[in-house]
């Protein structure tokens, strides 16, 4: 582990739970030492990508307003199949749907610091 495999990695966190979202952003910003984008709806994240181009990794809640996490995953993977999409939820029933729709990872809530470190180790470093 001697170098970052995605230089200037662009990550976004999408969740309507402000406290959880800010926590995840803080952990990721610390780990990658880069700015991490934050959106409270799937639609806002999608509009950002329409205006500014793709992000390397998106981490989205499933029950978010605008576009749900599942809808965002489908659109994102259709347009940017090589990029990574991680879905997170507190509902175990969402896991199989995330797998079927092609999510790269599923983060079960409550998300811990070590879980996010593993995400960075798996997808960034």
């Amino acid at each position: 582990m001697s170098q970052v495999s995605i230089p200037n990695v662009k990550i976004a966190v999408i969740d309507d739970d402000l406290l959880a979202r800010d926590f995840i952003v803080t952990v990721l910003m610390y780990c990658v030492n880069r700015d991490v984008l934050s959106f409270d709806s799937g639609l806002a994240a999608w509009q950002y990508m329409e205006d500014h181009g793709s992000l390397d990794i998106i981490i989205s809640g499933i029950d978010v307003s605008g576009l749900s996490g599942f809808e965002l995953l489908s659109k994102f993977k259709k347009k940017y199949p090589e990029k990574k999409c991680l879905l997170m939820s507190a509902d175990p029933a969402h896991e199989s749907s995330a797998r079927d729709l092609g999510a790269d990872a599923f983060l079960a809530k409550p998300v811990g610091v070590n879980d996010l470190f593993k995400v960075v180790e798996t997808f960034v470093v």
Partner: protein, 146 residues
Amino acid sequence: MIRFGPAPREMKSMSNEDIFSSRLKLLIIMTKAYLKDCPIGEYRKQAILENARFVFYQSLKLSSEIAAITNEASRTQSGTDSPGDMNDAYIFHQRTQLLAVMAKALAENRLKGQFRKKALQDNLNSICETLIFNFHIKDMNFLKVA
């Protein structure tokens, strides 16, 4: 698809307590990484400051609540927790707030000198003893790149 996080039976929404304990754990990792000379870039400094701010104010709120409960219990002599337990919790939160202040100082390049670093290490040790915190230093090797 890779899976991260707790087993299905343990899944739940993130409560304020989950966020506080996770952020406190992150603050401990941040300060331990500093003592291990992991590099600190601008965004890491920003993350440390944001995390320290959250932990400080949440801990301040919790210690105020503990003080209020202790005062009420001593007034009525009908507390459910022993005074010793409440005092330990109060001291733990004072140490947590001190850790947040130290983290802010290190992010602002003000935590210099061997005695300040020793004070940080002693405070970390005390907090970790209280938490029975089991995070091994090898787990953060990837922080050595920036």
